[in-house]
Amino acid sequence: MKSVIKGNSAVAHGVRLARAQVIAAYPITPQTSIIEDLASFVAQGQLRATFVKVESEHSALAACIGAASAGARVFTATSAQGLALMHELIHWAAGARLPIVLADVNRAMAPGWSIWTDQNDTLSQRDTGWMQVYCASSQEVLDSVVQAYKVSEKVLLPTMIVLDAFFLSHTHEVVDIPEQELVDRFLPPLDLPLKLDIQRPGAFGNLVFPDRYMEFRYKIELAHREALEVWRQVDEEWGRLTGRSYGLVDSYKVEDADTVLLTAGTPASTARVAVDRLREEGLAVGVVRLRVFRPFPGADLARVLAGRRRVVVLDRNCSYGHHGIFHQETKSALYDLPERRRPQLVGVIAGLGGRDITAGDIAAILRKASHGELAPVSWWNVLQPEEELEAAVACK
């Protein structure tokens, strides 16, 4: 059934269709309407599940870990400060190999308090062992939630579904909401191989000595390697059922492109508009969107980018003291290419704290890059400290 819904509602529908059984969450803007929708689905009997609004995000993820350890399909959602507060348990969920699905609405971290989007909240969780999927449309959000349960339950790793604050979470788009029966065919009920079970008593979360700890961790790494293939298969299977699949990386007009913009999240959709505009001006440009970020599809990236002259990585995030995170990661993916096929790489940081990244911005970035006028690393549309002081004085 086609409906016009927000990105946040798309998350809630995905969770309803996946028949999550325990939902524990804490409100935070701009995530809150996800859990409000779920609370009403549960109250109205559209989803047979327990919904509990706990006393913090730390408790929310702890409750999900408890429920998942008992074999339930679980869900939680959060943003920024909430995700940071969960951090201890984010590690735990992956270490305990629980197939939890969490939706994070990308929001900038405080201080300065901001409710607007950037990617530093989720990217700070990069090394926890979770899988991460960055979405660019409400339809993709719904589809990715359902896919995530399937992948997570196969490889026993948790997944973070990521959507940009407001640009995606609160924007209404047409979404095809699949029938329950179709999703049931795709996603069988959860049957965890190992769970807390009174018939087969076991102790979870025990102390591990140096003679075993590394093996546990190595298995997480192996699971990530397997997960790359599983994401591909699950996405294709979903494509056969619904006609919609997204790939691990999603590219637009790159085959003959000279300069390619690489980014994640909704700026990738904006970039398509910019690319169409620039193609009319005769510039050979394209866009690559990184959708699945963990497991990292480095080989896929290298394949689509090999032979391009230039790649501009647009990061709505920063690893302070180094540079944009997708920039660093892309660079590492391209290092193994033979030198003549290896593109020149530049990184641009833009749109932190929800500053708009317009098609005009992206066109200007690509135009500069095509003429070789972009520094290897730069910040876009940002005041220098002295200009900022002047602007502040002018305000007063």
């Binding site: 409100p27 009403s40 109205q44 007063k396």
Partner: protein, 295 residues
């Protein structure tokens, strides 16, 4: 538009309490009929009537509509993270024991995500004045169930009424060891001002609960009318019982409200207890912390 024939020169009028506010932050975000501003007015009046030395005052808030108080007050103020106002304030007090530290925050902030900090600060008798604006809801995030929502009240995450029993906040504070516990509503502006003065003068862990309407979310969702309707409710259903047993002051949906000063007792503060403890142990070798010597 009609225009007046006579041009009257009006003198510049300013509310005498305006200097207590950061005027560059005004207009504030609070909705018409919201009680947070009324509570702040009572607080400012107390400061003014006491001629409180503002250089000795710090106001710490968590996050929420109430949390905005820290940003509007023209004193040293600290807008912290959600739930952590009390630990930030504890550090502030220990770092500069000369300060009077007031924590001003919402019911969700202080008793859901920050609940653990509240009970421990009360237990230690940390020298903090904690003001909770209780509007029975999470105002800032749009009206979700709070640990104070009365049974039966509707909230976005409890669309058919709340079935979780709420905290009785004065009882919680009392049983954890607070030395002063009072509750008023924003209808009781005079008593509230007096309670603020008492709280500012008292040493140790002081707790003041201020019942306050949230017409935009709590009242509307429960069809309780506007801010004025809530004030009428406070007026009609409040019973003053100073010294009441805090076990008996729990609240129910639109039910009776017991207000008053419930607890006022003495107990060494955490810093006093620490100084006493180490002085006994080490005698003159120990130099008490945060105490100014006359020499």
């Amino acid at each position: 538009m009609s225009s007046l024939a006579v041009n009257v020169e009006l003198p510049e009028l300013q509310n005498p309490l305006m200097p207590y506010l950061r005027q560059d932050r005004i207009p504030h975000i609070w909705c018409p009929g919201c009680g947070i501003g009324t509570s702040l007015n009572a607080f400012i009046r107390a400061l003014d009537e006491m001629q409180f030395d503002l250089n000795k005052l710090a106001v710490v808030s968590g996050i929420g509509c109430t949390g905005r108080v820290a940003g509007y007050l023209n004193v040293d103020s600290f807008h912290t993270t959600h739930g952590r106002a009390i630990p930030f304030a504890t550090g502030l007090k220990l770092g500069n024991p000369d300060l009077k530290v007031v924590v001003y925050s919402g019911d969700g902030d202080l008793f859901a995500i920050g609940g653990n900090h509240f009970i421990h600060a009360a237990r230690r008798n940390m020298d903090l004045f904690v003001v909770c604006v209780n509007n029975f809801t999470y105002g800032m995030t749009g009206g979700q169930v709070a640990p104070t929502t009365p049974l039966g009240a509707t909230q976005t995450t409890m669309p058919y009424g709340n079935f979780e029993p709420p905290f009785n906040l004065p009882y919680l504070a009392d049983s954890c060891g607070a030395v002063y516990v009072a509750r008023w509503t924003v209808y009781h502006v005079r008593q509230l001002t007096r309670a603020f003065k008492e709280g500012l003068s008292k040493k140790g862990f002081v707790f003041l609960e201020v019942l306050s309407p949230c017409p935009t979310l709590y009242s509307r969702r429960n069809r309780l009318g506007d801010g004025v309707e809530q004030l009428k409710y406070y007026k009609e259903k409040s019973v003053v019982k100073n010294g009441a047993d805090t076990r008996d002051v729990g609240l129910s949906f639109q039910g009776d409200i017991v207000v008053g000063t419930f607890v006022n007792r003495e107990r060494p503060t955490w810093l006093e207890a620490m100084n006493e403890h180490f002085s006994q142990r080490f005698g003159d070798r120990y130099q008490p912390y945060g105490v100014h010597r006359e020499d």
